[in-house]
Symmetry: C2
DNA sequence: TCTATTGTTCGAATATAATCGAACAATAGA
DNA sequence: TCTATTGTTCGATTATATTCGAACAATAGA
């Protein structure tokens, strides 16, 4: 477990971002992270799904570069990489987040 | 053939949009349509693929609400539904288009 | 050292998507 | 009516994703 890989800004692609956001569960996770604006453990999002399924979705969010996960004890603390994504793709993620709130 | 179904604004979902934009070929089609800013036939995008594959991608773009196709003679004229999508999800598609141009 | 907690990985089943040739449909124009 | 043009639909194959239980790994705290 120990270390978790995160892509650098240069490695993040628009298609990966779009793909990660095309699943309702993942979109929900991203929305909750944005709204909370703090580190959240995987368990806090009590979506109605087994651990292994959630772990899978977090893996995709991390691989896309949307979520950063830092290990603190036995917990995995997740944050949205909002400012970084905004730097690379200005307006994309912020507009998506706004769209989730409104719609 | 005759008529082609297009979703109404109310039927368009963010996840469908994200999914449609997660494929490089479709993203390319959307980018070309935006840049051209005019009606384009399917054949004009000479992507290196068989007709049936392109037809499949256009179908998904239409179903997501991104592309409108009007039949003129034997040709199918495609346009981006940019202003409509902007109305429902302000900033999302325009930011994506900008990101394609820059990156 | 034992146990509880948190999350990942594995493996297998199921579902969804991409790809492309061939056949088909609609229309324009000769 | 015949033919060329433009795309769609069908059907089959291959590739990717999703889902979830079970086993595993890392750590904290008793």
């Amino acid at each position: 477990m120990r270390q978790i890989h995160h892509p650098s800004l240069a490695q993040i692609t628009l298609t990966d971002i779009m793909y990660a956001l095309s699943d309702p569960t993942r979109l929900e996770i991203v929305a909750r992270l944005a709204k909370a604006d703090r580190k959240m453990t995987c368990g806090e999002f009590d979506l109605n799904r087994p651990k292994s399924s959630l772990s899978h979705h977090f893996k995709i969010l991390r691989a896309a570069g949307l979520v950063e996960t830092m290990i603190e004890g036995t917990e995995h603390m997740n944050t949205l990489r909002l400012s970084e994504i905004e730097q690379k793709f200005p307006g994309v993620l912020s507009a998506v987040l706004q769209a989730i709130v409104v719609n």
